[in-house]
Symmetry: C3
Subunit: 214 residues, 3 copies
């Protein structure tokens, strides 16, 4: 079951990268690069930090194959995929939950302290999307004030996993529970338009933001 | 012969980074940073992925010296270099061919599978230019729809090298042939304005693109 | 004394990242990400290049705690901090001096040649700010023509440390002297508005720049 979800997450992340490349009218290479960077970038960053080189994204061919396959599917079938936004957001939320738990556990296996392991787990989950936005020259969705909660559910899930691990209470059930909770929180945030707290009061900041973004 | 071409490629890549910095009116530090990132960034990325640390770009002083030397030459002689655009594009195409072959071979020596080795070879060849564009806040030439074919020739050359390697048929002649073929394809693409295929039909996408890029 | 200054530098870098996130109206996650990337990004880059994984930024919890603490302080007290710009620039200059010396020494301990060690020391000092600007989609302050000298003092300090090391004359006093000199040069540059030399004559370049930046 888990490998299936793992590859579904990679597929969803890759499609989100490919669709952004198509929207920006990039050519076939741009589509492949953005798909691979989005799907595998977060895990590669994690593995470089942990010194696990070459990263599994390069040594286990299925990861790269799924990401390139998703790019090919998006290249051909993008009008269809653009209508499936809802389904893709669900896949993406599943990837967010799975990747943050898997990244945190791998960091804990390498003996990182609790907070650092959680930070690396979150990096695994959100790093690919950040790379996608930097390469495509978009303001990262990760930090944009109009994005629904994305990293915060991952932070909560990663911290829960890391604390359970330190308490000696970690097991597959805890991991699955955390991934499902992250998935559910993200879906709720999308449905109810939850946003993260900001430092400036919304009333004073709105005009400034509008001006800045012109 | 090969080391000479290797350093010529680094020189060409460094000049392309330095000239972009000068066009953007960056100061001397910006020129040096962009030259070094363009010339050595792709190889450093490859070496981090392969776990070959510290990367040769740091331990073999000639690489850094050539990149900094190119930055110095460009800083002083940029009006001349700006007239040599054609020659520089040839050097850059030579660097593309050499770096994608050298990167793929190094990845294969580290036992990466065929597709992953080719992907890392392409990363070696195009990673520096991508870093240059991200730092200078340009839409990466790598993915821009108006760029002539750049990564596709490298993809073809890297795959050819990786498949020959797996078939036990790799030798210096194959490597040289692949590098020359990449070089020739890139030059042809420049001369005949070949562009990569895009997912959206050109007729429907053109107005959107124009609007987006304003 | 040194650890205190080390953490003061991380604090200052983190505050500069957090304040930029707040100015851009990012949410609480964006503030934390930008603070951590600015404060720890340069050192993590250095450690990845040197193969020192996982980097101390992940294994020694105090670094991450100081960076996240600075983000929390900035999130709450940003109107106060915005009035303390002067003090923050002093902290930042102290961080610049300390990080470039510490980075160069660590690179020399890993047997890098003189120029490469200095380059890695400068990367340690300026890499975090570069990451901050790339993530926030600002033209990097590091290369902007209107920035006061920032990297050049670090280059001078890092080269001095590396040359002293090769001459067998390095000791704590030399390191402290270099850090103080970098700090003083940066402060002087801020006070007297020193800018780095540019390749194009100011008279001819100004109109072009203005047009380009619109």
């Amino acid at each position: 079951m888990l490998p299936v979800l793992d590859h579904a997450g990679i597929f969803a992340f890759a499609v989100s990268g490919a669709l952004m490349a198509i929207r920006r009218d990039f050519d076939v290479v741009g589509v492949a690069i953005l798909a691979v960077a989005t799907a595998l970038g977060g895990g590669i960053l994690r593995d470089l930090v942990l010194g696990d080189t070459p990263p599994p994204a390069f040594t286990r061919w299925a990861y790269l194959a799924v990401a390139l396959g998703a790019a090919a599917v998006a290249f051909v079938a993008h009008p269809l995929l653009a209508r499936l936004t809802r389904a893709l957001l669900l896949f993406d939320a599943a990837g967010l939950g799975l990747f943050c738990v898997a990244g945190t556990v791998k960091a804990l296996e390498h003996d990182l302290p609790v907070v650092a392991a959680a930070a690396l787990g979150v990096t695994t989950a959100v790093g690919g999307g950040l790379l996608r936005d930097v390469i495509a020259r978009e303001t990262p969705a990760l930090v944009r004030p109009d994005s629904e909660l994305y990293a915060l559910p991952a932070v909560a899930g990663a911290l829960a996993v890391a604390l359970a691990w330190r308490a000696g209470a970690y097991g597959p059930a805890v991991g699955a529970g955390a991934a499902v909770a992250v998935f559910a929180l993200r879906c709720l945030a999308l449905q109810r338009h939850w946003h993260g707290p900001r430092a400036r009061a919304a009333t004073t900041s709105t005009p400034t933001t509008t001006k800045e973004q012109r």
